[in-house]
């Protein structure tokens, strides 16, 4: 199945989807050294976002979160790509400075947890491979 959205930052990658229906605050909510989600009570608490296609509705929290994405990338524990329902400036700017492919305007319910995805953010398409 192929779903098209809107390009926030280009790039082509493949990987496993890590899906949540909750917003993510990269500043304070994700450990920049390990890529682990540390926000108390988050549906992904304890899970590692490194190398995953991180799928969440929208970002939240401090604007410093953009720098956290950059730090995750520098530490080799950033997500391979990000898919949002509605991308907001913190995540968008973070993806740009960290060079992480990002697409938004994707209905999240279409993406099953743990499925294998191909992202072509140059063309703003998400392909569910299985």
């Amino acid at each position: 199945m192929i779903i098209s959205g809107r390009t926030i930052y280009p790039g082509i990658v493949e990987g496993k989807a890590l899906v949540t229906s909750m917003g993510i605050s990269f500043f304070g909510g994700v450990d920049p050294e390990t890529g682990e989600i540390v926000e108390k009570g988050h549906t992904l608490e304890g899970q590692c976002i490194a190398g995953k296609i991180l799928v969440f509705p929208t970002g939240k929290g401090s604007t410093v979160g953009s720098y956290t994405l950059h730090r995750l990338k520098a530490n080799g524990v950033s997500p391979a790509a990000i898919i949002n329902q509605t991308c907001e400036p913190i995540t968008a700017v973070g993806c740009i400075i960290a060079e992480i492919p990002c697409i938004d305007k994707i209905p999240l319910e279409a993406i099953p947890q743990g499925c294998y995805l191909k992202i072509d953010a140059n063309k703003a398409i998400v392909e569910i491979l299985g």
């Binding site: 410093v64 720098y67 730090r71 400036p89 913190i90």
Partner: protein
């Protein structure tokens, strides 16, 4: 989004890697907010300066931008840092923190940003004109620029403001467009009974919290039209802006007879009456500490003006403070205070002038139990960020608190 030939060349990397990154940021923001194109800006205020907030990730990003040829194209000033650049040891900052903080400021300087290190750029050489398009970060200054000056800016984040500085542009949406500056709700303010209460930083701070919480609870975050205020000092408005931004995410308000754009609009039908009791309740809600709890006293959120420094010197003259007392202001105002003789009076009392920094961005968590202040904004951050109790009082009462045993 429509881009000019020059903007497209920037996006393609023809002006270097840093400008390309900056243009990518601006295009993404413009795409998200559905801007038609870019608009030139004449002034930028960059936030995200304290190492406490920026961390090593921020230092790395700024270093990458500098290496990519970053250089400012318009007047660009800087938000407060995490410490006084000269006086950090007196304020008890760790040497490692100081070294990292200086690295941040040095990088900004090499990019061409003027290291004002203040949240009141309008007191320190970055004063835009009415109707001018600017790109400012620092929520209190954004509200001041839009409302009190009548300049036009959105609430920029750190990287967005930096991107505007490097390209001289920002995407044209939100408060850059006149139709989005129209008020959506009227607030009728009942003035306090005693004239001494009105037009203080304390009263305006409590009013800002009252109005801010109303706006925050409304889904469309309307621009407030405020009526019933006869006079407002610059210091009162500075306090109101900080409080409205903190508690209401408010970037623009109009005040009848006071702010320059108010006359263009008629008051919206939907009206909320703000009684003196409501403002008093907001004021009370910011105090959960009593005198015996207070071990830290602070004035200068936003940074003090020279008039406030003069008043402070008058109150402290010949007295000794009994509690740790920080006066936060810009280095420029500190120098003026020195020339005027106020600095000697203040420092002789035992109070400390902390320039370049403030109690919101300095790493003070865990150092103090409770803070006395006249700032509604400082109360919010003291509680949420530094886990301190707060005592919210008038400027003069805060000084008395420092003098008490």
């Amino acid at each position: 989004m429509h881009l000019t030939t020059e903007e497209r060349a920037m996006l393609e990397g023809k002006s270097g890697k840093a400008v390309q990154k900056a243009m990518q940021i601006l295009v993404a923001l413009g795409t998200i907010y559905e801007a038609d194109g870019m608009i030139p800006v004449s002034s930028v205020q960059v936030a995200g300066v304290s190492y406490d907030n920026l961390g090593d990730a921020g230092i790395q990003f700024l270093g990458d931008m500098l290496a990519g040829g970053a250089s400012t194209h318009v007047l660009t000033t800087l938000n407060p840092a995490g410490m006084d650049i000269e006086n950090w040891q007196t304020l008890g900052m760790a040497a490692e923190f100081a070294q990292k903080q200086m690295q941040v400021i040095d990088t900004f300087k090499r990019i061409g940003i003027i290291p004002t290190c203040t949240c009141t750029p309008y007191f320190c050489g970055n004063l835009p004109g009415y109707g001018q398009h600017i790109a400012w970060a620092e929520s209190s200054a954004v509200c001041f620029a839009n409302s009190v000056i009548g300049a036009r800016t959105n609430r920029e984040g750190g990287p967005g403001a930096l991107a505007a500085a490097l390209t001289g542009r920002t995407p044209c949406f939100g408060f850059h467009l006149i139709q989005n500056r129209k008020p959506g709700i009227t607030f009728d303010i009942e003035r306090p009974k005693s004239p001494e209460t009105a037009d203080t930083t304390h009263w305006f701070g409590a009013l800002g919290k009252t109005i801010g919480q109303h706006i925050e609870s409304m889904s469309d975050n309307p621009v407030p039209y405020i009526r019933g205020i006869e006079s407002a000092s610059i210091e009162g408005l500075k306090s109101l802006c900080a409080s409205l931004a903190t508690y209401g995410g408010c970037a623009l308000f109009h005040m009848e007879g006071i702010t320059p754009e108010a006359i263009q609009f008629s008051p919206p039908q939907v009206t909320i009456r703000i009684s003196t009791e409501m403002v008093e309740a907001a004021s009370d809600s910011m105090t959960d500490a009593d005198s015996s709890d207070v071990d830290f006293v602070s004035l200068g959120c936003p940074h003090l003006s020279i008039r406030e420094i003069a008043r402070l010197a008058q109150l402290l003259n010949g007295q000794q403070v009994k509690k740790e007392f920080w006066i936060t202001t810009s280095r420029q105002i500190k120098q003026l205070a020195d020339q005027a003789g106020y600095r000697r009076v203040i420092e002789d009392s035992g109070a400390k002038i902390a320039a370049d920094t403030c109690c919101v961005v300095a790493p003070i968590k865990g150092r103090f139990n409770a803070m006395a202040t006249d700032s509604a904004k400082a109360c919010f951050y003291a509680r949420s960020k530094h886990r301190m109790k707060t005592m919210f009082r008038t400027f003069d009462e805060v000084v008395l608190e420092a003098l008490k045993g």
